[in-house]
Symmetry: C2
Subunit: 556 residues, 2 copies
């Protein structure tokens, strides 16, 4: 007998599972329930539609009810909400157009996604405040923009949805401010990397307020700057914890998401500590007839081993495919996520994979780190830009734990190579050896990834001691000398107080000017000359350290 | 006592070795001999300087004699040619400005590179014919262009130097023709991939003549189209094997290179079958005091295990670094090359890594192949383009053997991920699992590399049978039906003769129209719908195959 599979949620995980199921089993009965009006839309494109970067709303609809039914012979039911799972009878309860009915299953796949957090802040139900999850949300924001013509907007939350929304609202010419409660935006990035992104947002007219949070929303007494529809969707005044107030014609609330676990919870399925549905490596919930995938589940973090929420489309799509495989008897494991993520931040691209320092510290994993700044392609070929590559690796064998990159160009390439490396347990030694494809328009003979590998191995082999700028404040200044090995011009332009200038090319002759009774912290702009200085001085008995990443990284 | 190291060749491998040696040993005596006027120039940038893409000649000089001496305290000797190695006395013989002298060594590093082949074709010494290896060559070509103002040029040899030169001469407005003796240009690519590149060259006004070779050059009797300097650097008439003749104001001879092995040979060092200097994994020649790196050596091909010539800058730079490491007692192995290469061909990027079909056949390695065509980033985000990804893998465990990609955008990223995968012995199953970084401007939730992995695993698991267009001609047409599952419009626009049209979305209803006594070869534009058709038809008992890569790939 043909098996009957019900799928709850018709977008990334759900639609992927449906399509794959059909390809594996031409005879199965497959019903796809979607609460919203649309299945298979491009969540990730929503902010770009608001900014007119994606010019047509239709482009967001990757598949439609009709196209899925025609191609995959799937019974697609939009505007059908599953409201209960009756595991005993293997049935679900559905509400559609006010009608309630039941549908039986052999297998059930849950891909209900995650819902935006809406904290209980006074006034949060003001009609000019929106969350961003689906077509409906984006249609409402779009209408608000058309009708109110906002001039000022505020984005609450500096996660990637918030930042993408901020950038796209700015594209429309609005004054946009981002408010972030944490010390930096974009949690996958460590502080110093996120700083570069905050700076570029600022330079593009998007101020970012960190370490502050909204405590109240209230209708603005006197109308603010926007026009039209005042009564209903008028301006909002935001009061922050710091006491600061802001007004906005439009507020985007993007303070994170939480797994849609209600159905699963009420059905008595195991829920993890982070609130996600618990699944085994085959993506089976605690009920073997029920699979769950996507934003709603907890997955094993491949680096630190902890169960985590990693709400990203790549994993959701792949998990949907694997759940279908397993329902068709294939025994495929999902071996965990590593949190590979990327986003555009104005002129910059920011990308991360694996764990960052915060995560490693939390997990109690020892690590070393290194920063390199390398050109996106050969310096002599026009159009290149420098990117900052941060890698984290184990102190013993140099196994990669995480990487973060910020730059204008070629960032996506390097993060994907590093993501591949992390997934396969590679070390900094492996990075140094990789044979990547080189021609001047694309790379350098030593690619930024190789360079990160060289520098990492140099640290591990003890060929150079490194110190990080953020370690300096805790040290007694009388115990070290800052040695600036840049050129006179660079030094004059700006330098940390008290730094001793000896350009690297003069070091050998002027070696006697360097004190022998202190640690020497050599630095240059990005770290290469500082490293060379170390290699010149160390054999002469100096206790010398390179300031990793150079002066530029921390100047920001 | 400080060791004394001599290096022969001052560019990619030699200069890299010199810099690394100094960083590892502040006290060593290091002398760098370079026959030419310049060290450390950007060989790979030379064609782009001719095309004014690199606007300043100075940009090509990555390091100079002065900068290397100042920073690394290296005795740099340009215009010093080493003419003999006296291994017994551990000395070399040098000629500089007509003077001959000897210099002793503890260690010697050979990085003399490779020289352009100049076949003994009658008339090949005509002064309008140039090879492209160094600054001197490029200065001469530059002068020729300035003085003769060529309107027609011919590039002989469709390797990457030839193609880059052709594109850059075309940039200057010249009529450029490429002549290639083999069946296709760019040997790292298989025929059908190279075809796309030949086509784009053609579309950009650069006709490519394949399967033909020059048999004679002669001064053109009546001046051709160029102006100036007729007497000396006048036009050339080329006669081809086919009988065709061409005239040109400028001829670039780029028919390949051979290792500069003369010094090594005369010194009695072991030379390999391919003419390269033989080295062990530590890059030591048959004389343990002498190391050799770069274009001059034979390296182990990591895929097929054969000793090969892989004259590329990435390997040369890394080998230089490793030779220095080993001279400083580090015991680092160079574990072989995989031939990762990339180049720009007008609007396209072409990249390859590992072995191609020709190499695998030659090596007798069994393989399967798959083509996928995937967008460089999410289809709904503007600016994306499709790329064709070809992967080759073992028929049993699916281990990757090679990859080739042609596309407009994002090709460099995917080849580097695949190069990393090949280096670490990954399989198509691993590709399917990779968690790459996704946001709409950069990729799709299923990256082209994942997609190649899915399709590869589908083939290996027997989920789909594939057939390749190049296998069809050998088959009896009465044994199969070509089933076109594209839309009516696509079919009407063009289709192979005799193809039966049933759009994929109509297959289920029209299944009775499909003959059951023949093989069914389903095809669409790129292969997805063909695959889906297979998954629909196979369960109904059809002997059905997907034509890998779809119609488009072979239409060219
Ligand atoms: C604005 C935005 C931008 C993003 N950008 C990126 C990006 O650049 N890169 C990236 O990797 N990820 C991005 N994501 C995240 C990505 O979209 C999600 O990780 C992915 O869509 C999760 O897939 P899913 O199937 O778990 O959930 P979803 O795709 O959200 O689908 C869940 C669906 O289930 C439906 N549903 C829930 N409960 C029920 C029920 N009881 N009955 C019927 N239907 C129900 C919901 O209506 C919803 O449509 C972005 C998300 C948003 C919102
Ligand atoms: C036009 C062009 C474009 C290229 N593009 C690319 C590309 O895009 N990507 C890529 O990976 N590779 C490219 N390459 C190849 C790359 O440049 C070489 O692989 C690399 O330079 C090899 O390094 P090497 O040190 O072995 O030789 P070289 O860099 O050629 O240096 C050898 C030097 O040794 C000197 N020498 C030889 N014999 C003696 C002697 N007896 N005494 C003193 N000096 C001597 C020579 O004068 C020469 O300068 C390109 C090459 C050319 C010519
Ligand atoms: C589109 C969607 C329904 C998935 O459909 P899908 O058919 O599984 O995915 P694709 O169209 O990418 O096709 C992939 C299939 O084609 C196959 N394929 C791809 N290229 C191929 C080629 N050239 N030849 C043969 N097969 C090919 C793949 O192997 C895969 O099939 P498999 O899973 O059976 O191995 C689902 O991803 C979706 O709803 N996406 C939009 C929502 C979303 O993802 N949001 C978050 C990101 S914005
Ligand atoms: C330039 C050239 C002389 C090599 O010099 P090099 O000093 O070894 O190379 P780079 O300038 O790239 O610097 C790399 C070194 O800096 C280190 N480094 C790079 N970034 C760093 C950073 N941010 N912090 C600390 N160290 C850094 C690397 O670890 C490496 O040192 P190591 O080898 O001791 O580990 C040589 O490559 C050359 O002549 N190139 C031109 C010719 C050529 O390559 N042609 C073919 C391609 S066109
Ligand atoms: Ca329907
Ligand atoms: Ca000198």
């Amino acid at each position: 007998m043909a098996k009957k599979v019900l799928i709850i949620g018709g977008v990334a995980g759900g639609a992927s599972a449906a399509a794959r199921l059909r390809r594996l089993d031409e005879h199965a009965e497959i019903i796809l329930f979607e609460r919203g009006q649309y299945i298979s839309f491009a969540n990730c494109g929503l902010p770009y539609y608001i900014g007119n970067v994606i010019s047509e709303r239709d482009y967001l609809l990757v598949q439609t009810e009709e196209s899925m039914e025609a191609r995959f012979h799937i019974d697609v039911r939009p505007e059908h909400e599953v409201v209960a799972i009756d595991r005993g009878r293997k049935e679900v309860e559905v509400i559609a157009k006010g009608e309630r009915y039941r549908e039986s299953y052999d297998y059930l796949i849950l891909s209900p996604g995650a819902e935006p957090l809406v904290p209980p802040i006074p006034g949060i139900d003001h009609p000019s405040i929106y969350t961003v999850r689906n077509m409906n949300d984006i249609d409402k924001i779009h209408r608000h923009i058309q009708q109110v013509q906002p001039q000022k907007s505020v984005v609450i939350g500096g996660g990637y949805v918030g930042i993408e929304m901020a950038e796209n609202l700015r594209e429309l010419g609005q004054d946009v401010t981002v408010i972030e409660a944490g010390p930096n935006i974009l949690a996958p990035f460590d502080f110093e990397m996120a700083r570069m992104l905050e700076k570029t947002l600022h330079d593009h007219g998007i101020p970012v307020i960190t370490n502050d949070a909204v405590t109240a929303f209230a209708p603005t007494a006197a109308p603010a700057t926007g026009s039209g529809d005042k009564s209903h969707r008028g301006p909002v005044t935001l009061t922050l914890k710091s006491g600061q107030t802001l007004t906005a014609d439009l507020v985007i609330l993007a303070v994170g998401v939480r797994p849609e676990n209600k159905l699963a919870r009420e059905a008595g399925l195991d829920i993890g500590e982070r609130g996600g549905i618990k699944v085994d490596p085959y993506l089976r919930t605690s009920d073997p007839s029920i699979y769950a995938v996507g934003d709603a589940i907890e997955v094993k973090d491949r680096v630190n081993g902890a169960y985590s929420l990693i709400p990203l489309a790549g994993p959701a799509n792949k998990q949907g495919r694997i759940a279908a495989d397993n329902i068709c008897g294939r025994n495929i494991q999902y071996t965990g996520s590593q949190g590979s993520a990327i986003l555009k931040v104005c002129n910059l691209t920011a990308a991360a994979t694996g764990n960052n320092e915060k995560q490693l510290k939390r997990a109690g994993i020892a690590y070393r780190k290194s920063y390199t700044q390398s050109p996106s392609h050969a310096g002599y070929y026009p159009g290149g830009n420098e990117m900052v590559v941060k890698i984290l690796f184990t102190p013993d064998e140099g196994k990669l734990l995480g990487a973060q990159i910020v730059g204008e160009d070629g960032v996506d390439k390097r993060i994907d190579v590093l993501a591949t490396a992390i997934r396969h347990g590679m070390t900094v030694y492996d990075l140094a050896e990789l044979e990547l494809a080189y021609a001047p328009p694309y790379s350098s003979a030593k690619d930024p990834v190789n360079m990160a590998g060289f520098v990492g191995t140099n640290i591990l082999r003890g060929d150079v001691n490194v110190v990080h700028w953020d370690e300096l404040p805790a040290m007694d200044p009388s115990t070290y000398v800052l040695l600036d090995v840049r050129t006179r011009q660079e030094h004059q332009y700006s330098h940390p107080e008290g730094a001793l200038l000896i350009p690297v090319d003069e070091l050998r002759e002027r070696i006697d000017e360097i004190p022998r009774d202190k640690k020497i912290f050599a630095f240059c702009r990005i770290g290469i000359r500082g490293y060379i200085a170390c290699r010149i001085l160390a054999p002469h008995g100096f206790d010398v350290y390179n300031i990793s990443g150079g002066n530029e990284l921390y100047a920001a």
